[in-house]
């Protein structure tokens, strides 16, 4: 049994090591990475659905500069987001907030997936427990004949 599992185990090992190498924390994000990440979460107020990071509009430019200044001034991500919301309203955020109504948009898909997956597992279990049709000796003989 173990011999047969060996190549699979080896495969699993390689995958795990590779994933570990990818997920290994590499010393936090630089300021510019932080600025870019924040800019990607904010909507350009003058455009149709573009983020502040992607847009070349003057307001987006000013917002990017503002984000950089605030990061240098030591503000946290949450504070910077709040400053933008204070000026432009909630719709400036491209990522909906988590609490309250936000639970719907973040939690519902996960719940639906869990429900669906659970239902599938239950159905599978139910099917396995039901007895299969039993073949008679004559049936088995017929099958062997056909196969040969």
């Amino acid at each position: 049994m173990t011999r047969r599992l060996l190549p699979w185990a080896g495969l699993g090992l390689v995958v795990v090591v590779t994933l570990a190498a990818v997920l290994w924390p590499d010393g936090g994000r630089s300021d510019s990475a932080r600025a870019h990440a924040l800019a990607e979460e904010l909507r350009c107020p003058e455009c149709q659905g573009l983020s502040v990071a992607d847009s070349s509009e003057p307001t987006s430019r000013a917002m990017r500069a503002d984000i950089r200044d605030r990061i240098e001034a030591g503000q946290s991500d949450a504070e910077i987001r709040q400053a933008m919301v204070d000026r432009f309203g909630e719709s400036i955020l491209l990522r909906p907030e988590g609490g309250g109504l936000g639970l719907v948009v973040w939690g519902l898909p996960v719940a639906a997936l869990a429900l669906g997956g659970g239902g599938l597992v239950l159905a599978l279990r139910r099917w396995r427990r039901e007895p299969r049709l039993r073949a008679t000796e004559a049936d088995e003989k017929l099958v062997d004949q056909t196969r040969s």
């Binding site: 003058e46 003057p58 307001t59 917002m63 503002d66 000026r87 432009f88 309203g89």
Partner: protein
Amino acid sequence: MRRHPLRMVALGVGVAVAALAVVLALQVGDDQLQAQPRSELLGDDAPDFTVTTLAGEEVSLDSLAGQAVIVNFWNSWCIPCRQEEPALREFYERHRDEADFALVGIVRDDTERAARRAVDERGIEWPMGLDPGGRAALDFGTRGQPETYAITPDGLVAGTQYGPATVEDLETLLAAARGQR
């Protein structure tokens, strides 16, 4: 037992679809594009801005303390801005000699040269501030131009107008800035 699960699921799906339809139907009535967005600043402290006018003066919120201030974001190429100019001109003529009044224009999304030329050609007489980097425009949360903001003598935002304003609109804004109804 076999009958019910499917009917329950169907009922559940039906309810969800109906709910979605209701939500969508509620939105159809509103004219989304026309709906005027409310400024987030209404009732809050006005942002502390500093601009240098075309004449070389420095104007900031502090320098205007004690006055009812109308801030108008403008530029030389936007068509509604042009439409608004006669109203602004009349409004300014009416109130320019009042001690507790100030009208400040701020250039938004334009070059200094084009702004200067337009101000000279079109006879814009109120102070027009330059906003390189768009910081003042950002601090006010502007999304375009023309946009007009009314600030009380204590520095609170009392009224906002998106899009071109008529003389009546400007008078309403001034009244709000002065605390009158």
